[in-house]
Amino acid sequence: MKTKAFQRIYTELSAITRATCVLKAEGVTYEELAWVDGRPAQAIKVVGDLVTLQVFPGTEGISTNAEVVFSGHPPQLKVGELLSGRFLNAYGDPMDEGPEIEGEARAIGGPAVNPIQRSKPSALLATGIAGIDLNNTLVTGQKIPFFADPGQPYNNLLAEVAMRAEADKIILGGMGLSNDDYLYFKNTFTQAGVLDKIVCFINTSENPPLERLLIPEMACTAAEYFANDKQMKVLVLLTDMTLYADALAIVANKMDQIPSKDAMPGSLYSDLAKTYEKAVQFAHGGSITIMAVTTLNEGDITHAIPDNTGYITEGQLFLKQDTDIGKVIIDPFRSLSRLKQNVIGKKTREDHPQVMNTLVRLYADAKEAKTKQENGFDLNEYDERCLHFALEYSERLLAIDINISIDEMLDIGWELMQKFFEKYELNIKEALINTYWKKSEDSQLAAEEV
């Protein structure tokens, strides 16, 4: 127990809700950590001598004579090299068999980086997945969520991407993870032999929901330690942020706040931004990249959670089931990486921007042709070509199960354009066409080989 001899103990709660309790106390600082019958809690409202505490594990069984002690500081995490390879709970305490964490105690949810101390994120983060690398190229220091339906294999994909991305440290923040998914992450990391470069903060669906509020801040505090103090490239994985937002809504509700859209608190945007904006590229080379998961209800991105997320993050990767090829693809229309402009055609091949855009535009034409077909109209010759193109494009470039280099992706792009279209249908700069469009003999050869 964390009480110290000289600490004052309060034993008179004046109100209890499912998430909070109120008591009379003096000298409390705002956002101070406290314990209610040993349960961690935080001061979220102070009016005169009345303090409202949000009790992270919930208030079940708490009685009005519960013992309350205050810590004198906001919630903290002990940071240090010893974090590596550890599985911790929402309070930063071990949930594995390892020893207690030792290190410097830092307040979580610390101040923002001065914008002028940031560098422009411009180092490529390759994943081998064309739906990401070709169409939505990622860079270190970026923050981007996967928008996925609950049934999609987003956690597997997240683990896969984490393994392929070249990061010095991977920090997993699991919120409401199913126990199976938690074990999946654990096994994947163990089997890949990368335990020394991971730190996990885990709240499973068996744990109290309010504890989820601490997970992103814990993960980001650890990330800031490695990225800023140790100048490492850190990748933070947060899954599932929708469950985090739900926990925010619970507290707001118990605080009698007027809900805004979709019963979410009016401060949802700022609350989410506080976490996502921890993504940063420092001038000294250290960086924090955040990849998150936001689960959707039937693909509805106008819901307040994905909507606010989209306005904060630097793009989103949209998972979609492509029924034509029977695989999950990264939807090229709704997905976006805002920071791709910093690297494509600069750190990657010169034809990258135009090839990418042209392929997506042709895929859009195919979509229109498909609508036409579904409405029972005759397809013209161009429509037919588009549809054939779309199938191959989806199979060879959009599916999430591929793992190739960006040059290979671009070559496939040119191959597909040449197979189905004429030069003038592409609107690509002539200089690029002259370089990459295979001359007729080559293409015939290529065609014969296929």
Binding site: K45, P111, P115, A304, D307, Y311
Partner: protein, 589 residues
């Protein structure tokens, strides 16, 4: 000085028990151990003042001492503002120490030790009023006017003025005598409360001249004027920020004020990184030299978001009074509205639509109307053009911020998800968007004289073709390619021609990103000439194929430097392609 103590804390709202008079919007300082936190009074009830704190309230205690300052939130105006990166309260971010912004960090907005070269403009004996020019200093390449402070009321007489030479901002530049004989010293700097508009000018006039942005879909289709107002709503991912940054880079303004209000820090970093490198084509100087950035990113304190837009507007008005063309961009005004909503909610006010405060429409209208074109007391002109972006919840324009803005802004640039999905950038829906300036008689007369006779009519004709094309497209989609006359396909492809060659523009291509008005005029005439030709086709597939070739040639022209050899090559190819059609057409009729 009034003092008080803190009696309650909820997030960034504190209540203070005060011992004397307090003013609405008065600034007070919370003394928390060794740091001071700035806060603004937003409601008073008896001897209880409610204040929004511009910093994190973590570790503030009940009973903390509060000192009131007696003034509202002010900015310091003077040479040295350009090229600065401020936070939402005009703290100079460059002067802050450390990697993180710590609670209570306050830095000087201006550089008090820098020498500026001063030349007097007024002479002793001159009668002057607030806003009149006393002298001028060089700030980068801008002639920064030293003015009679805006707070001065009535007429003053110049008693003495400092000679030409090098001075610091707090040196005395002039001595003025008021009508009742009081002497006052004027330095290069003055202060002004940001929530009040600077009105030290003769009159506001109706805007008439295009403010070139280099973007065809704006300048040609829905032009914004010097002193005009515009807004850009769009769902996330439709390119609001790219569009605003493109405008910031290419706009033909003397001064650009960019307010990053509750948006991503990396976007500001992009500006920090690029603007010192990029050259302003008109002056040959670095873009950074004409730019000031106010940044309150989404992870910085929420209350300072509201302050940031007002700080930006006040700086813009200040430069306008020097007879300059100022463009102010705010990204995004929705975050400001959300900040207002958070406070209103904590004050437990009865909510308006979507839980926004009921005075939101009035607040927005008041803010937009601070833009405008003015005639100064000395008959020179200055302007503040304001373009704000809006991030409508769920991408739905039927929400309070978009609706309130639509009532006051004269230009509307609707970003469309559909166009963004199809990578048709900029994703401005040219049909839904509008510029009310096209209907201004002043604008019509000016463009007749400065661009070409009948310019506005030409634009309206272009829009008609676009509209007809969309209708034809709907018909084709309903009835099928074969079931409609070929002329429908012609109509559709004419609109595609305009879409691909005029409206779409590659903001990442070094040539295509910025099209001067002269070139826009040439290209729109070229494209409209093509649209005027009556062509004959055997079947609808021919129409598409032929127009795709036309589009391809014009696109290649767009990618080539104006009047370069390449450009001429593609233009010749285009003419030949045209001749194929026009050569056949007459023989058939």
């Amino acid at each position: 000085m009034t003092k008080g103590t803190i009696t309650s804390i909820v997030s960034n709202l504190v209540t203070i028990d005060v011992d004397g008079p307090v003013g609405q919007n008065e600034i007070c300082m919370i003394m928390n151990k060794d740091v001071q936190l700035r806060a603004e009074v937003i409601r008073v009830n008896g001897n209880e003042a409610f204040a929004q704190v511009f910093e994190s309230t973590r570790s503030v205690k009940i009973g903390c001492e509060v000192v009131f300052t007696g003034h509202m939130l002010e900015v310091e105006l003077g040479p040295g503002i350009l090229s600065k990166n401020y936070d939402g309260l005009q703290n100079d971010l460059e002067k802050m120490e450390g990697t993180f912004i710590n609670t209570g960090d306050i830095t000087e907005p201006l550089d008090k030790d820098v020498l500026y070269h001063f030349s007097p403009l007024a002479t002793p004996g001159d009668k002057v009023r607030a806003g009149d020019w006393l002298g001028s200093v060089k700030e980068n390449w801008v002639d920064h006017k030293i003015m009679v402070p805006f707070v001065f009321e009535g007429q003053y007489t110049v008693k003495s003025i400092t000679e030409t030479g090098e001075y610091k901002i707090h040196d005395k530049m002039a001595t003025l005598v008021s009508e009742d004989g009081q002497e006052v010293a004027v330095t290069m700097t003055q202060k002004w409360p940001v929530k009040q508009a600077i009105k030290s000018y003769n009159q506001k006039i109706r805007p008439y001249d295009i403010l070139q942005t280099g973007l065809r879909v704006i300048d040609t289709f829905n032009p914004i004027t010097e002193g005009g107002t515009g807004y850009i709503p769009g769902p996330f991912g439709t390119g609001k920020t790219v569009l605003q940054q493109a405008i910031a880079k290419n706009a033909e303004a003397d001064i650009i004020i960019i307010v990053a209000c509750g948006e991503r820090a990396n976007e500001v970093v992009e500006i920090f990184t690029e603007f010192p490198e990029l050259t302003d084509p008109r002056t040959g100087r670095k873009l950074q030299e004409r730019t000031t950035i106010i940044c309150n990113t989404s992870n910085m304190p929420v209350a300072a978001r509201e302050a940031s837009v007002y700080v930006g507007m006040t700086l813009a008005e200040y430069y306008r009074n020097m007879g300059l063309k100022v463009l102010m961009l705010a990204d995004s005004t929705s975050r400001w509205a959300q900040a207002l909503r958070e406070m209103s909610n904590r004050l437990e006010e009865l909510p308006g639509q979507d839980a926004f405060p009921v005075e939101l429409p009035a607040t927005i209208a008041n803010f937009y109307s601070r833009a405008g074109c003015i005639e100064l007391n000395n008959r020179q002109f200055g302007s503040v053009t304001f373009i704000g972006t809006i991030s409508p919840a769920g991408g739905n324009f039927k929400e309070p911020v978009t609706e309130s803005t639509s009532k006051v802004a004269q230009c509307f640039y609707a970003l469309s998800q559909k166009r963004a999905d199809a990578k048709r950038y900029p994703a401005i829906d040219s049909m839904a968007s509008y510029s009310k300036y096209l209907d201004y008689q002043e604008f019509r007369e000016h463009t007749d004289a400065s661009i070409q006779e009948g310019w506005v009519d030409l634009i309206k004709k272009t829009k008609d073709i676009m509209r007809k094309g969309l209708e034809a497209r709907d018909q084709i989609n309903i009835l099928g390619d074969d079931a409609v006359p070929i002329s429908y396909h012609m109509d559709f492809w004419r609109s595609e021609l305009i879409d691909f060659t005029i409206i779409q523009q590659d903001s990442f291509d070094t040539v295509d990103m910025n099209t001067p008005l002269e070139r826009q005029k040439y290209m729109i005439n070229k494209v409209m000439d093509i649209c005027d030709v009556d062509m004959l086709f055997d079947d609808f597939q021919q129409v598409g194929n032929y127009f795709k070739q036309l589009i391809n040639q014009i696109k290649q022209m767009n990618y080539s430097p104006w009047n370069s050899e390449e450009f001429n090559k593609y233009e010749t190819a285009l003419t030949e392609l045209m001749n194929e059609k026009t050569a056949i057409a007459p023989s058939m009729t």
